[in-house]
């Protein structure tokens, strides 16, 4: 028996004043229960865009493989592969205009590369020679963020600041399914909705936070459902369907740009590799599940559809593969050399002006280096 069912309970129930009622009808904010799909629906496809998406997917897959190989060769400290998630990465980057900002997490190297970042610069964090590896302002790509979900409020603040300055800039923030459990995820979404900031949140739900499956992460019907409580629309999309992800993201970006406020998008995808090279995925998932997702591979389903429609042919497939090989060869060659680092850089950018304490420590290191050199 609930409180409402107790005899006489209704008489004691106060009538809420108007301010207590929901301010927004939640129905339009709710995501469709089925992930949005384009492939296999007979929807019209923009051939030029499709070929662009396809080329970036193939290049991205090759990039993931090459970076993983570099890790095994000791050239990278670690590499969190996004194999299987390339559609999310590529669509995220291609949905943005040049003036927009991307806020990636540590797994989103591909999104940064698809946005035009030098493939080597995108790996310096993981190689270990310079944390960020590029000027975030130059590319409008925030540093790849390792702490979970902490980059989301940055995206909100930047989008808010841009709007205050009168610029029609949109911020796109990427986060994983595990990151949605963090407090910063909640605070970022809440700030974004209250401020109506032009920001889009893309959750790449790849099934696992390292080893913990989504069912142990959340009891929500879907991660996109979380949007409703903040007063922003939630969208659910097939994260392996590149045209679908691109369409949903483009709509959310356009909506944010015209002052419509933030959107939360959940892209349902799958991480085909382990969390990083340090992880053993066989401990927490069976090969049958991985095989099932292999049938729904983002490159394969796009290639099949584009070929069937005559947008892509053998020549196109070969061209994309060759371009990816060229990129990989260049990456291998450029990553083969040991970077030359100046130890004195340790003290260079801690503060705008070096403190007396750091000047003393810099002098100590310089003396040590000179002694070593003798």
């Amino acid at each position: 028996m609930t409180v409402q069912e107790l005899p006489g309970a209704a008489a004691y129930r106060p009538t809420p004043p108007p301010a207590w009622r929901p301010r927004t009808d939640p129905a339009p904010l709710l995501p469709d229960p089925e992930p949005f799909r384009v492939l296999g629906t007979g929807a019209e496809l923009d051939a030029a865009l499709m070929l662009k998406l396809y080329g970036e997917l193939v290049r991205g897959r090759r990039y993931n493989a090459q970076a993983t190989a570099l890790t095994k060769q000791g050239r990278l400290a670690v590499y969190p592969s996004s194999t299987g998630q390339e559609a999310c990465e590529v669509a995220a980057a291609l949905a943005l205009e040049e003036r927009d900002w991307l806020f990636p997490s540590y797994r989103d190297t591909l999104a940064a590369v698809a946005r035009g970042l030098d493939p080597v610069q995108a790996l310096t964090l993981l190689r270990g020679d310079w944390h960020t590896g590029y000027d975030p302002r130059e590319h409008r790509i925030a540093p790849l963020c390792t702490p979970l979900a902490t980059q989301l409020p940055h995206a909100v603040g930047l989008a808010h600041a841009a709007r205050l300055k009168g610029d029609d800039v949109v911020a796109l923030a990427l986060v994983g399914d595990g990151g949605t459990s963090e407090g910063d995820f909640h605070e970022a979404l809440n700030f974004a909705a209250v401020w109506q900031a032009p920001v889009v949140f893309l959750v790449q739900n790849n099934g696992f936070a390292i080893s913990v499956p989504l069912a142990k992460q959340t009891a929500a019907p879907s991660l996109a459902h979380k949007a409703v409580g903040y007063g922003m629309p939630g969208r659910l999309v097939d994260g392996n369907d590149a045209p679908a992800v691109h369409q949903v993201l483009s709509e959310a970006v356009a909506r944010a740009r015209r002052g419509g406020g933030p959107t939360l998008i959940e892209a349902v995808t799958y991480r085909m590799e382990a969390h990083t090279n340090a992880d053993d995925a066989t401990r927490y998932r069976g090969s049958a599940e991985v095989d099932a997702w292999r049938e729904h591979d983002p490159i394969r389903i796009l290639e099949d559809e584009l070929t069937a429609r005559g947008i892509l042919d053998e020549h196109g497939i070969r061209t994309a593969a060759e371009a990816a090989e060229t990129m990989a060869a260049a990456l291998r060659e450029r990553m083969n050399a040991d970077p030359v680092l100046d130890p004195m850089d340790l003290f260079a950018e801690v503060y705008a002006e070096q403190s007396g304490q750091l000047r003393e420590q810099a002098a100590q290191l310089r003396a040590e280096l000179e002694a070593e050199a003798r």
């Binding site: 000027d135 975030p136 902490t150 989301l152 304490q357």
Partner: protein, 335 residues
């Protein structure tokens, strides 16, 4: 260039408010944000009138979420604004620690200097106002332990203005600790009068003396000044050094004083173990060992969670505890 206007005593809270107002008037990129900073003017009224004068886009009431406030400030700074964040109370600033330590303090370094974080985090701190739990923490040691942050705390009305202007002008992130029991302290300084603004990182000798040096900052400065006056009756002529900036640390001024006096006591109200006093005592000993006539002593709060208000008078270092420490400086060894 003194003005002819009659001086009326100003409070530290007014000086801080004036500093933000002047900075906002001079630089449109300065934005104030925090909980209750708008219509209410802050729970201590430090942001009083800013929203009215500059609009809610420049002085913004945020949702109640410290990590969100500082996290969005990071994004605002990325886009070229200079956010001044108010954390309502010392202990309420803790949810923002991850943003502060992982991003605010490190962004310049991570990006090779490409992305400075000109953010000021204003934190009312310390006890002595009869606050209930979680309203009286001295959190300076946590901030001091984080490279990349400047940590500043004023003890006078004039410094409150000058240091906050410097903090807002700084391209580095500054944790600006406001001793809340000094918010209503007064001085003859008029909020309208011009002031000399000292760069961050310089300590000041508040009182000269030759017997021993009291090294202190923030809310303990008035305590030490009072102790120095009382010490005259005991025959001690104490020098008082107000650090003003804990990071960067002014070794020069502190050590020059200790070399003159030969004895030193560090005084602060945060816990002694792992507190700023240990670092300061070590620095002084490393640099002034042959000038010292006695070990550097510490007078600090006890190593306890901040006590309930009816007991805080037993916890906070007062004049007597400072004088007791001075008495323990091995005076007989002089001979």
């Amino acid at each position: 260039m003194t003005t002819a206007t009659a001086k009326k005593p100003a409070t530290m809270a007014q000086a801080l408010q004036r500093a933000m107002r002047d900075a906002m008037a001079e630089d449109p990129s300065v934005h104030v944000l925090g909980e209750d900073v708008g219509a209410l003017g802050g729970v201590f009224r430090v942001t009083d009138g800013l929203a009215k004068e500059f609009g809610e886009d420049r002085c913004t009431d945020t949702p109640l979420a410290e990590a969100g406030i500082l996290g969005t400030a990071v994004g605002m700074a990325m886009y070229g604004l200079r956010p001044v964040v108010e954390m309502q109370f010392d202990a309420f600033a803790y949810p923002a620690f991850e943003q502060l330590i992982s991003h605010v303090a490190k962004m310049r370094n991570r990006t090779g200097g490409a992305m400075p974080m000109p953010i000021v985090v204003r934190v009312p701190y310390g006890g002595g106002i009869g606050g209930v739990e979680h309203h009286s923490d001295s959190s300076e040691a946590y901030y001091m332990a984080t490279p990349g942050l400047k940590v500043v705390t004023p003890a006078t009305v004039e410094d409150a203005y000058g240091l906050l202007r410097e903090a807002i002008a700084s391209d580095d992130p500054v944790v600006f600790l406001e001793p809340k029991r000094l918010y209503w302290s007064k001085s003859d300084w008029s909020p309208e009068a011009p002031v000399t603004v000292e760069p961050i990182g310089r300590a000041v000798v508040r009182r000269t003396g030759h017997s021993a040096t009291l090294i202190t900052y923030g809310p303990s400065v008035p305590v030490c000044m009072e102790a120095a006056e009382a010490a005259r009756e005991e025959g001690w002529d104490l020098e008082v050094v107000d650090l003003r900036s804990l990071v960067p640390f002014d070794d020069e001024t502190v050590c020059a004083s200790v070399r003159r006096t030969g004895r030193a006591v560090v005084v602060h109200e945060s816990a002694g173990f792992g507190g700023p006093g240990g670092e300061i005592a070590a620095r002084v000993t490393e640099r002034c060992f042959h000038h010292l006539e006695a070990p550097v002593l510490r007078v600090a709060g006890f190593d306890i969670p901040y006590p309930p208000p009816m007991l805080e008078k037993h916890h906070l270092p007062g004049v007597d505890r400072v004088l007791d420490a001075v008495a323990r400086l091995q005076w007989e060894a002089e001979h």
